[in-house]
């Protein structure tokens, strides 16, 4: 046996350069992408982590970075910038407690559904417990600043943009996609028309909305005055200013939802739809039992992508209101940007890392409790 093996090894020819290249071709092909990723994503991430733990100052001939540990994060969470980042907390009343209880029930329900689902692992349980706890923390901060006499900070304002904005955009996008999937005349025209806002740069949309919404010289100013509200402006009240930002964001991003959902709807099994129609099923019934299960995985994924994108909102609040009135429309990205442009690079990086943390928590929670179950729904 041994002698045979030795003979066999001796007879196997050594691989040539070409064969070796073939064998490592995959790694070589990936290498440039890895190097680029390291240079442009990982390296800046590490540098910004150091910035977040430092204080930047100009010095003769350049600048200094003084290591201050978690000082920038402490300032945001418990220090002098808490009002700016987390907000000002008000006293909890019955409504606030009710909202907290509702959120807790919803999260417990999601957890219970996972536990009953069958494919339960220890890692899965621990991961979900962490994401549920952190999500509950975000809910508490949101309720403490919104449902009380408090004032929301940039964290809660960003969550508002994300939760309300993405929900509205999804519903509108789905509605438009369902309409455009019908055999109606000129539907290709409408498809192109609905898609146009997505191709406009966000800052362009922001300036357009600023002009449209100008209460003194805008095109709708005479109309608004004719309704007797000439002495009011959306820009001076917190909720109307946030609403205007949401309207602009929705106008731009609904087409993204629309186009992806339209593709998913058109890919649903036609035979099942036809069969259901022959059997006398109504539109709502077909949507609930055939269309929705077919598009649910795509819907979950498109919302996830949009969630990640929505956390980075900056152009609209920056151009429309400069973050005002007060802090009402300032998002976390704008918060970081304002800190950066006033030379507070450490605070800016710290806000950036908080944004990364919060968006990761929200997106993982959404993925675990919505996207994954939706895939099971399809299967």
């Amino acid at each position: 046996m041994t002698a045979f093996a030795e003979t066999a090894v001796d007879t196997v020819p050594r691989p040539g350069w070409g064969e070796r290249l073939d064998r490592h071709a995959g790694r070589l092909m990936v290498l440039p992408a890895v190097v680029i990723l390291l240079c442009f994503a990982i390296f800046p991430l590490i540098i910004s982590a150091y910035l977040a733990l430092s204080r930047f100052a100009l010095a003769p001939g350049g600048f200094t970075l003084k290591f201050i540990g978690l000082g920038n994060f402490r300032k945001l969470l418990t220090g002098s910038q808490q009002y700016h980042f987390l907000g000002t907390f008000g006293a909890f009343g019955p409504v606030a407690w009710g909202l907290v209880a509702l959120a807790a029930i919803a999260l417990l329900y999601c957890m219970a559904r996972y536990l009953r689902g069958g494919s339960v692992t220890v890692v899965g349980i621990v991961g979900r417990l962490i994401s549920v706890s952190l999500t509950m923390g975000l809910v508490l901060v949101a309720v403490a600043t919104l449902a009380t006499s408090g004032v929301p900070g940039t964290l809660v304002t960003t969550l508002l943009y994300v939760v309300i904005g993405v929900s509205v955009q999804f519903l509108l996008g789905l509605g438009l996609a369902l309409l455009c999937a019908q055999p109606i005349r000129g539907r290709n025209f409408f498809r192109v028309l609905y898609f146009v806002p997505l191709m406009v740069t966000p800052v362009g949309i922001a300036y357009t909305f600023r002009m449209l919404a100008d209460m003194q010289k805008g095109p709708f100013a005479p109309l608004v005055r004719s309704f007797g509200v000439g002495e009011w402006s959306w820009a001076t009240e917190a909720w109307s200013a946030r609403l205007m930002v949401l309207v602009g964001d929705t106008w731009q991003w609904t087409p993204f939802m629309f186009i992806v959902l339209l593709a998913a709807i058109e890919n649903q099994p036609r035979d099942q739809v036809e069969a259901a129609r022959i059997d006398g099923a109504g539109g709502l019934q077909i949507f609930r039992d055939i269309t929705w299960p077919a598009i649910a995985p795509v819907a979950g994924t498109v919302v996830l992508i949009r969630l990640i994108e929505a956390f980075k909102i900056i152009d609209l609040p920056n151009v429309l209101t400069g973050g005002g009135p007060g802090l009402a429309t300032e998002s976390m990205t704008l918060h970081a940007f304002i800190a950066w442009r006033t030379q507070d690079l450490g605070a800016s990086a710290a806000v950036g890392y908080m944004l990364l943390f919060v968006s990761t928590v929200v997106c993982i929670t959404f993925f675990n409790f919505v996207v994954r179950p939706s895939r099971r729904l399809e299967s």
């Binding site: 100009l58 350049g62 004032v151 000439g230 402006s233 400069g322 007060g326 802090l327 030379q343």
Partner: protein, 488 residues
């Protein structure tokens, strides 16, 4: 060595051509100049081809929004990118740029360039806006003082006097608010003041506060106690200023909290405001025959003042007397605010020598009377008068469409402000942007939006400024603050 080189190159230019601009001198040289978008950008951009034709130097004007300008310049220079060869910016930022060693010392070049006519530049701009620690780092292109504008016709019609105090300002604003001021059938506004966050609004706060905290001359200071750097915020003067801002909002446009100066200026020129606070730009915009509906109907005056000033020991307001208001006019303490200090050009110390020469020649060209005298009379340039020869009525103003009567009040207001011994100098300590554009701006914006009350606003500004003092160093900041205002 750097001074010697600069001096030598300037002398070469001087000896060869008399002035810096000579045909073909800078052929092939490109100078990247950064400034703000809109006004200020306009004259720099418009005159760049003229300068290129004269000297061969290509001037590439890069414009960014005002709120980004400070950091864009700083990032370019501090990171060593050095794509910006020169910039036109606020003199108060000079202290940060010099701390990093990014600004070229221009003393020798200015002294060697007679075409600049330095003696004609107003003393305040020559000695404060251009200089730091005795050396010249900037070339003044614009003169900046806050002043008050009013509708002469409306005041006369209503039998009202030009406001001299902030209380009178509110009375006039209240009396005229809601009247149709331009004949378009819609009610107009008693007062227009830029109050937008993250814009250029935060300077207007100090107009009101300063008239109550500074009464004993420029060197007394309006921002901090010169003894220990305590912010002059937790006092009745600051609280009264907050009341003024809140009250004036009632007589302003409904979206005043979202209006920057670029929004209030056309409002005044279109005849929609009875009173307005701004820099000198409104005067030249108001005589624009194309866009102004207030030609012959407007006036200007030194910023209103106060008949009460803050006792720094007690924080209480006290009536003006000869002791506590030595510079009061008819019992009113005026403290005209040299807000911003006038746009000026500075040159990147790391630029190539030839580029520095071209940049200096360009700034010299822009500030020379032949160019400057035209630019300061045009509203859209953002440049206001800063040369002594520009501050009296002459053919310059007559040709621009200003009457002698208008010039008397407009230029008179600038002269009164510039010559006031109680003028407020803008904050010029390291990282002054954080004190004003972040802490002060944010707190006032939150107050006006109703997020926080008066006491919380006072505490937000006081705590924010104290925190910055502690982080940067109280003693260092105090020393620089005292030096910049000339405190004994």
């Amino acid at each position: 060595m750097r001074h010697l080189l600069a001096g030598a190159s300037a002398l070469c230019l001087l000896g060869g051509m008399g002035i810096a601009q000579a045909a073909g001198e800078f052929d092939g040289v490109t100078v990247n100049v950064m400034t703000q978008t809109g006004a200020i950008q306009e004259p720099l951009q418009r005159r760049a081809p003229e300068f290129e034709a004269l000297t061969g130097a290509k001037i590439n004007v890069i414009a960014v929004p005002f709120s980004d300008l400070y950091q864009k310049i700083l990032t370019d220079w501090a990171s060593g990118t050095n794509s910006v060869d020169a910039a036109v910016f606020a003199p108060q930022w000079m202290v940060d740029y010099i701390a990093g060693g990014y600004l070229e010392d221009l003393t020798a070049r200015v002294e060697a360039d007679p075409a600049i006519e330095q003696d004609d530049v107003g003393a305040f701009f020559r000695d404060f806006s251009e200089k730091y620690a005795g050396s010249i780092y900037m070339i003044t292109l614009d003169g900046d003082f806050h002043m008050m504008y009013y509708r002469k016709d409306l005041l006369e019609e209503a039998g009202l006097e030009v406001p001299r105090t902030w209380d009178e300002y509110l009375e006039v604003a209240k009396a005229l608010h809601g009247k149709d001021m331009n004949g378009d059938g819609t009610p107009d506004f008693g007062s227009c003041i830029a109050k937008k966050r993250n814009a250029q609004s935060y300077w207007f706060v100090m107009d009101v506060v300063g008239s109550m905290t500074q009464s004993k001359g420029t060197s007394q200071g309006a921002f901090f106690n010169t003894a220990d750097m305590t912010p002059l915020v937790d006092n009745e003067g600051f609280r009264k200023a907050l009341d003024f801002l809140s009250e004036s909002t009632k007589y302003g446009p409904p979206d005043e909290l979202n209006l920057d100066v670029s929004d209030t200026r056309p409002l005044f020129a279109s005849g929609r405001c009875a009173l307005n606070l701004d820099w000198g730009d409104v005067g030249t915009i108001s005589i624009d025959p194309v866009n102004s509906k207030v030609i012959g109907k407007w006036g200007a005056a030194i910023m209103p003042g106060s008949t009460e000033v803050v006792n720094w020991e007690t924080g209480e307001l006290e009536a003006c007397t000869a002791d506590n208001c030595p510079y009061a006019i008819d019992g009113v303490n005026h403290a005209p605010f040299a807000a911003f200090g006038g746009w000026g050009g500075g040159i990147n110390a790391a630029a190539d020598d030839k580029v520095k020469d071209a940049a200096f020649a360009y700034f010299s060209y822009m500030t020379q009377p032949a160019q400057s005298n035209q630019d300061v009379t045009v509203g859209g340039t953002g440049f206001n008068p800063y040369r002594t020869s520009q501050l009296s009525f002459s053919d310059l103003w007559k040709n621009a469409g200003m009457t002698e009567e208008e010039a008397a009040v407009y230029l008179g207001a600038i002269n009164d402000s510039m010559n006031s011994p109680n003028m407020i100098l803008d904050l010029r300590i390291p990282q002054n942007q954080k004190y004003q554009q972040v802490v002060l701006d944010e707190a006032i914006s939150r107050f006006l939006a109703g997020e926080i009350d008066k006491e919380a606003t006072v505490q937000a500004v006081a705590n924010g400024w104290n925190e910055l003092n502690d982080e940067i160093g109280v003693d260092e900041q105090l020393e620089i603050y005292r030096a910049t205002i000339g405190a004994n």
